[in-house]
């Protein structure tokens, strides 16, 4: 019987059925659940690596040792792993190796909307692109076959709407992969110039063979249409939008393999239709290829380079009518994401706001520190950039600046920036926001939490010892629920004559093991409506009937608001 399955869950099922044995990933929306779901199969060893580069190298090592392996990441994670990516293309693999990259068009939870398809062409690696959960399962399995047949890692590219949509899936059995015992092969696996020069022509020849494969595989297929006035080339979720908008009206060339592209197939299809339209999100990757082949086509001139497409957008551009909805003539206030009630980051950001610090930030829930009313973050670039950029900022004469970085992000790529501060000696204050979990992606363990992906005991890196070992003498731990302690620490460390690390430590309020205090309550007789407590942007606090009011279904009694009240209006609630 078919089951309703999320794309990422189906991908994990594909890993299982393909006989994958080792999976190493770093969490990143929308890719996280692939590895989380894979970890539910005992036959697959799964782990969270400190970052994507480490994950990819781990997967490569497992392939070398003879086991089918996997690493998964979000689009920006592939930038971190780009170094091994480009050279594992040269070495090839031993047992099958599959890399998943999940793009996030429209930036639901990302800092950019880069198009990862360019990596396949740049690194000369085959890339498959499923268009629903069933294809996610099937393509992951087939990726391993392609990997072993052509001696290459294979990239499977997902996007938010494939990764986080559920559709019906037929599952199969697990098949253990053929054995690939490790064999010493210096010429293949030691990429120094003399060896790499001999591998490069093999890579080019492999691309040629894969192009031939692309011409004949059923992964690329044509849906016939009733009217060849328009022919559409598309892939991924855009295929679904096209079919939704057009049904069987126009012929569609659906590409499941996005690199290398099947030149002859593209030419034949173009020759069979009067007007050729390429429907793809973000860049004109397929379109540019078609143009290079000399095929007249339209694509980006219709659909642009930004965000996600949809059935109505496709219909509109192809002159198919749609019925509009009803619109309310009313100013609807936006509802942006906010730090949760009881979030340990809130107290710290309030402190930084009051201290008028220039805060160089990083990637995580705490990026919300940039949002009003806290407005206490002035830069966010990529994982780890807070620490390295602070060093540069201070070397260039910057003043009163701090870096803030979460525990998981610090492990990912903050450590090397900290090493630069220790080595090249800028007078910098780095604040590690240690909430004992990887928060934004939905509570994944990391090297500082002492637990592995399954929640079992694991190695635990001690942040204080690590910083001291790098040479920092000023390392102090504060409780972000204690505003005075935070304020003292920030002012003292900014005044100190040497670099320091402040660890703001308190577990995420959403963790199951965290015990909450009773919700607070405002005594309306004492409240003078000064709104001091409103400066922390807590979703549990609002002004109701001219007085501060606590929503006791949200409040976890963290007490930060209480410390801002000059009139002792907050008291412990009844619940």
């Amino acid at each position: 019987m078919k089951q309703l399955m999320q794309g990422n869950t189906a991908a994990a099922r594909g890993l299982y059925e393909a006989g994958c044995c080792v999976a190493s990933s770093y969490p990143g929306t929308p890719s996280t659940e692939i590895t989380e779901e894979a970890a539910k199969y005992d036959a697959i060893y799964c782990e969270w690596a400190p970052n994507e580069k480490v994950a990819m190298e781990t997967a490569f090592g497992a392939s070398l040792a003879g086991k089918r392996s996997f690493c998964g990441m979000k689009h920006v994670g592939l930038n971190v792993a780009a170094d091994p990516l480009f050279t594992v293309s040269y070495t090839g693999i031993n047992a099958g190796m599959v890399i998943c990259v999940a793009d996030d068009p429209a930036m639901h939870s990302s800092q950019n909307e880069q198009d990862s398809r360019h990596y396949a062409r740049a690194a000369k690696l085959p890339m498959l692109e499923p268009s629903d959960s069933q294809e996610a399962l099937t393509f992951f399995k087939r990726a391993y076959d392609i990997s072993e047949e052509y001696d290459t890692p294979v990239i499977v590219k997902m996007c938010t709407r494939i990764a986080h949509s559920q559709s019906l899936v037929e599952t199969g059995e697990r098949h253990e992969a053929p054995a690939h015992p490790y064999e010493k092969n210096i010429a293949k696996y030691v990429m120094m110039p003399g060896n790499a020069m001999k591998r490069h022509p093999i890579v080019e020849e492999r691309t040629r063979k894969l192009q031939e494969f692309a011409e004949h595989t059923d992964i690329n297929r044509t849906d016939t249409g009733q009217d060849n006035a328009i022919g559409i080339i598309t892939s991924s979720t855009c295929y679904q939008y096209v079919k939704e908008a057009c049904g069987d009206k126009f012929p569609v060339l659906k590409l499941g393999m996005i690199w290398p592209l099947p030149d002859e197939k593209l030419k034949t299809f173009a020759g069979s239709v009067k007007r050729l339209v390429v429907v793809e999100e973000l860049d004109g990757f397929i379109e540019e290829h078609c143009r290079a082949l000399g095929l007249m086509c339209e694509g980006k001139s219709l659909f642009g380079y930004l965000g996600e497409l949809s059935q109505n957008i496709v219909a509109g551009k192809l002159n198919i009518t749609t019925t509009p909805g009803v619109k309310l003539d009313e100013k609807i206030p936006p509802r942006p994401p906010v730090m949760c009630a009881g979030c340990p980051h809130r107290g710290l950001f309030y402190t930084l706001n009051r201290a008028k610090c220039t805060v160089l930030g990083d990637i995580g829930c705490y990026t919300l520190g940039a949002v009003a009313p806290l407005s206490a973050m002035e830069m966010t670039l990529c994982m780890g950039a807070s620490v390295s950029a602070l060093h540069g900022f201070n070397k260039a004469g910057g003043e009163n600046a701090v870096a803030v970085i979460g525990d998981s992000t610090f492990m990912h790529s903050g450590m090397t920036g900290l090493a630069n501060i220790a080595y090249n000696q800028s007078k910098s204050v780095v604040i590690i926001l240690d909430n004992s979990i990887t928060g934004m992606t939905g509570h994944q363990q990391n090297p500082t939490t002492g637990k592995n992906i399954k929640g079992d005991p694991a190695g635990k890196i001690d942040l204080e010892s690590l910083c001291r070992a790098m040479g920092f003498r000023r390392v102090r731990v504060v409780d972000p629920y204690n505003l005075k302690e935070c304020a003292d620490a920030v002012s003292e460390e900014l005044e100190a004559e040497e670099s320091s690390v402040i660890i703001s430590r308190r577990p995420c309020a959403l963790l199951k093991y965290v015990k909450h205090n009773k919700p607070l309550h405002v005594d309306p007789a004492k409240c003078r409506a000064c709104s001091s407590c409103m400066r922390i942007g807590c979703p549990a606090l609002a002004m109701k009937n001219g007085k501060a009011h606590v929503d006791d279904t949200l409040c976890v009694g963290c007490g930060v608001c209480e410390q801002l009240c000059k009139f002792d209006a907050f008291e412990e609630g009844r619940k």
């Binding site: 709407r161 559920q166 019906l168 909805g325 309310l328 936006p334 994401p337």
Partner: protein, 191 residues
């Protein structure tokens, strides 16, 4: 049949995940092709959340576009209004009357629009509004708002028997919460 579209809208953390899981299970068991789509990550942190549930003979797109929703199931009034444009002209809104201030309202930068229900009705929109929080508390937990809403929604599905809904609840809810959720469902259905 043409594809039917149900949008579930609310504020991150209100329980739309279980609601969509339950609908997905129910409609799959009815033999339909089904797609359910949601977005995880940053938007879940107290922001607006939207889940799309689509079913029919053959469903292509995982998302619902403007003017396409047969139903909008809303956990919060402002979110129903925000997504009104997605409703078909003949569509039905089932909403909780709960109001949760978004951050721009909390900080005083904007105000929460008044009389949203009446304004939507003036446009000719069919709105079924009920105090789901009160009914959920009556069932035993404020967290059961999702089942109150589904109970109300079930009222509009002549072709799906109460037994099928009950089977979906039993399959999707942990054992110790089944009774509570059944009660919440019944209170919503009969409201």
């Amino acid at each position: 049949m043409t594809t039917k579209n149900i949008m579930i809208v609310g504020v991150g953390g209100q329980g739309s995940v279980l609601a969509s899981k339950l609908l997905g299970h129910l409609l799959t068991a009815q033999g339909y092709d089904v797609k359910v789509s949601e977005v995880h990550g940053m938007s879940q942190r107290g922001g607006s959340v939207v889940t799309y549930v689509r079913y029919g003979e053959k469903v292509y797109s995982p998302v619902i576009d403007k003017g396409q929703a047969d139903f909008i199931v809303s956990f919060e009034l402002l979110e129903a209004a925000r997504n009104l444009e997605y409703l078909k002209q003949s569509g039905q809104i089932v909403t909780s009357t709960q109001q949760i201030d978004p951050m721009p309202v909390i900080t005083g930068a904007m105000s929460y629009p008044e009389n949203l229900l009446a304004k939507m009705q003036t446009l000719g929109v069919k709105v079924d509004a009920l105090d789901c929080v009160k009914l959920a508390e009556e069932a035993g937990s404020v967290k059961a708002v999702n089942l109150v809403l589904l109970g109300r929604l079930s009222h509009y599905f002549d072709d799906i028997t109460p037994g099928a809904w009950h089977e979906a609840i039993t399959s999707c809810v942990p054992g110790k919460f089944i009774e509570l959720n059944m009660k919440a469902f019944a209170l919503g259905r009969e409201a």
